[in-house]
């Protein structure tokens, strides 16, 4: 009985072990990268508490501070790097609409490892940064939300869409082609405008206002909303040239939809050292 009690105590202590807090983001080696934020594999990674500041360099600025910090853990399998980003958020905002912003976060890493760092806010001309961006409404889409107006407004009444009228056959190529005429952003291939299989996108920037679709980094993501707020996993290609025990830098940004944050109105960190520890 004594041994059982002792074992239980040890088990409980192990379960409630406070995570190791580190002053830089440490990407710990892991054969398998967890795709879910709830995966216990994250317990092996130390946590970095990254203080956030409002974006106040370019208009429109965020004039009221919101998210104070993000809690970041990182793992790497040698070819990809995963981040779990947690932040406190009282409201789950994942329904887009007029004046309805959605929760989001982003990971920013310099395209090249060099001494002279790019500006921490979106890089600068000649010093490109890679941004992997996750959004809560995309997560809802990946989780199964449909691509109709009733998925956003359940009581919506729609008389007629021209592309659903006879003689066009449902789901036919002709119907899809006609539907695109009424969704110009989709017709033009705007990567943020259509149904999607991943809740993240890969972007590049060379300064504020220059964010653009970038080469694919094979990014994946998954976000879950819990009692405390969001917990989001973002997996992307390991930064070029980041060997074991080497450093680059990383920055994070968070948008709270309930606080009307979008685009330049965001909370962000400065550059934080990111070290790869394969163990």
């Amino acid at each position: 009985m004594r041994y059982i009690t002792l074992a239980l105590l040890l088990f409980t202590a192990a379960c409630t072990k406070a995570p190791q807090v580190v002053n830089e983001v440490v990407a710990v080696g892991s054969a398998k990268l967890p795709s879910s934020p709830a995966d216990p594999a994250w317990n092996d990674a130390p946590v970095h508490l990254a203080k956030m500041i409002p974006q106040d360099l370019v208009e429109p600025r965020l004039m009221t501070s919101s998210t104070p910090e993000v809690r970041v853990r990182s793992l790497t399998n040698g070819s990809e790097i995963a981040f779990r980003i947690d932040w406190d958020d009282a409201d789950q905002s994942d329904m887009p609409g007029p004046a309805k912003m959605v929760d989001a976060c982003a990971v920013q890493i310099p395209e090249k490892i060099e001494k002279d760092l790019a500006e921490p806010q979106m890089g600068q001309a000649g010093k490109r940064v890679q941004v992997t961006y996750w959004r809560s409404d995309w997560q809802a889409t990946v989780n199964g939300r449909g691509d109709t107006i009733r998925d956003l407004y359940p009581n919506a009444a729609v008389d007629h869409y021209p592309f659903q009228a006879k003689p066009l056959e449902k789901e036919s190529a002709d119907q899809k082609e006609m539907a695109l005429r009424y969704a110009p952003a989709r017709a033009l291939g705007n990567i943020r405008s259509g149904p999607r299989s991943e809740p993240v996108e890969d972007l590049v920037a060379e300064g504020p206002g220059t964010l653009a679709p970038g080469p694919s980094l094979g990014s994946k993501g998954k976000g879950e909303f819990g009692k405390q707020g969001w917990s989001v996993v973002i997996i992307r290609k390991l930064p070029d040239g980041l060997a074991a025990n080497q450093r680059t830098h990383v920055a994070f940004a968070v948008w709270q939809g309930s606080k009307q944050e979008a685009g330049a109105r965001k909370m962000r960190t400065g550059w934080i050292p990111l070290v790869r520890r394969d163990q």
Partner: protein, 374 residues
């Protein structure tokens, strides 16, 4: 911010970008006195451009009843309230524009409508300014009044939507001054929705981008007026191109109405955008109300319009409204006829007065008495 000249204010003002006027500027004149709010323009636009998913609530063209109508709700009153009362000194604006009164951290003074604000496109429809008491009768000016205000994007010379976009996703075409949202570049931050004082940019929740009136540019490129113009039952609209005041051509219909006769006025010029849709103000509405909507030229414009019957050039030009689907760059009056042309070929010819045909009550050939009832 740069310093630019806004002729509607009679002064320089601050704007996010330097002055860069297009080679030609799309413009329009709407005669509010002829609008019957049949909403045919609204439907013509709706069926042409905004029948897609996520566009259900969008009205790139709408017609609202003034004084109480507005779409989205109170779009005008909210901003007027935020500007908190400003002053004209004659034809010079001494108040602050939405660019000059931008709060710290913002590019323009603006606000973003909530979803509910789009839920009542016909609020105030046909409601007049006051109660019509028992025993009231019609008199001029009307003791109680309302009028219809048809609205599209103003394709402003200094667009607030364009200034608001931190990504430069909105651009003004050099060839015709039409303001467009680049649908491949927009990331749906809704800054343009917030910035446009006329609230003529709309967020599409299905594509995640913002969309707006495109002035039917594929038609304009063909020299044809937009859908909401050619379908107008009341023939209240005329599309064309406007010159700078000092370059106004008397044979350009838009220049003639705006710069020479000064009978057509911009909507809320005090906001500072130099909007390019011009309105002939309603002559039965109070001058004070027209002045708030259309600026200090309202009283003179009303007087000019009232006198149009004695001004054959003006009344002749007003007859060209809705007479052809072509954009009419030139017009001239020949006696009792007004002629529209493209500079080479005649596009349309309209009599100042339609011929009157009197049908006698007795048909002598068939020995019939004509009656008026079916």
């Amino acid at each position: 911010m740069a310093r630019v000249y806004n002729w509607q204010l009679g002064r320089e003002m601050s704007y996010w970008y330097p002055e860069n006027r297009p080679q030609k500027q799309f413009a329009a004149v709407f005669d509010t006195n002829k609008c019957i709010a049949c909403q045919t323009c609204t439907l013509a636009c709706k069926t042409t451009w905004t029948s897609g998913k996520g566009q259900e609530y969008m009205l790139w063209n709408n017609v609202e009843t003034k004084p109480y109508g507005s779409y989205p709700l109170a779009y005008d009153l909210k901003l007027l309230d935020m500007l908190n009362g400003q002053q004209w000194n004659g034809h010079k604006y001494e108040g602050q524009t939405i660019f000059e009164s931008a709060p710290a951290g913002e590019r323009v003074l603006g606000w973003r409508p909530e979803q509910q604000d789009y839920a009542y496109p016909n609020v105030g429809e046909d409601d007049c300014a006051g109660q019509v008491d028992h025993g009231s009768f019609l008199s001029l000016p009307h003791m109680n009044w309302f009028f219809y205000l048809a609205r599209i994007c103003n394709h402003c010379t200094y667009p607030a939507c364009l200034a608001s976009c931190p990504r430069g996703s909105i651009y003004k075409r050099q060839e015709d001054g039409i303001v467009l949202v680049d649908q491949s570049r927009c990331r749906g931050y809704q800054e343009c929705v917030r910035g446009c004082p006329y609230k003529k940019v709309f967020y599409n929740p299905m594509t995640g981008t913002s969309e707006k009136c495109i002035a039917c540019f594929p038609k304009i490129e063909q020299g044809i007026q937009p859908q909401c113009f050619v379908n107008c039952i009341g023939k209240i609209r005329l599309a064309g191109f406007i010159s700078k005041p000092e370059q106004a051509r008397p044979d350009n219909p838009i220049d003639y109405l705006v710069h020479i006769k000064k009978v057509a006025l911009p909507l809320f010029p005090q906001f500072g955008l130099e909007p390019n849709v011009y309105y002939i103000p309603p002559i039965h509405a109070p001058v004070s109300f027209n002045r708030q909507l259309f600026g200090p030229g309202a009283a003179d414009a009303m007087k000019t319009y009232r006198n149009a019957m004695n001004d054959p050039d003006l009344s002749g030009l007003l007859c060209l409204f809705g007479s052809t689907e072509n954009v009419v760059p030139h017009f001239r009056r020949q006696g009792d006829t007004v002629v529209g042309s493209n500079g080479k070929d005649e596009l349309v010819r309209v009599p100042l007065r339609e011929p009157v045909h009197i049908r006698p009550a007795v048909d002598p050939k068939n020995q019939l008495i004509r009656i008026n009832c079916p």
